[in-house]
Amino acid sequence: DVKVTQSSRYLVKRTGEKVFLECVQDMDHENMFWYRQDPGLGLRLIYFSYDVKMKEKGDIPEGYSVSREKKERFSLILESASTNQTSMYLCASSRRTSRPETQYFGPGTRLLVL
């Protein structure tokens, strides 16, 4: 059974703080993803990674960076948190094959930036 875990369910930070969101998957998946979920906007892709030390920008990378030092771990970094980054952040992983592999999602981290 695939398991994707995220370091925190709820997080409260102040404007300007550096924020780290961690994601770990236990299925040896090559692909990992970070999304933010906002009401009426659905899920929007921030960054994804298809291998260790590789990263690709998604649709809304501004204000974020990522790190993938190990295959099982994908970190999302908010260099200087702002109030418009208050959101639910979802991590996902999938195998990298030529077939349409399912993405498996973590429980999400609800971030509030004051």
Binding site: G42, L45, R99, F105
Partner: protein, 113 residues
């Protein structure tokens, strides 16, 4: 740019009513299509997916979806909904041989007992 449109923001039905949720995408090439569901307080999970073959795809819990290539659509259907189907439903599209996926804005379904 590739985009995914879900026409209904919030749908309210009574139990046993039939359901159809619309999904259209703008990408013209070969695509893989997905419907995900998020029950209250739970993770996003896969309902069904299409990649080739029969355009009518059956998923879990009695859901099905039909891929109509000429209409760029992948609508989700269920003949008779239950109260437990109350959830948010997301359509997603992935370009063939690409790693990333794009989601629609979601449709919130409320089923009244």
């Amino acid at each position: 740019a590739q985009s995914v449109s879900q026409h209904n923001h919030h749908v309210i039905l009574s139990e046993a009513a039939s359901l159809e949720l619309g999904c259209n995408y703008s990408y013209g090439g070969t695509v893989n299509l997905f419907w995900y569901v998020q029950y209250p307080g739970q993770h996003l999970q896969l309902l069904l997916k299409y990649f080739s073959g029969d355009p009518l795809v059956k998923g879990i819990k009695g859901f099905e979806a039909e891929f109509i290539k000429s209409k760029f659509s992948f609508n989700l259907r269920k003949p008779s909904v239950q109260w437990s189907d109350t959830a948010e439903y997301f359509c997603a599209v992935k370009k063939y041989n690409n790693n990333d996926m794009r989601f629609g804005a979601g449709t919130r379904l409320t089923v009244k007992p």
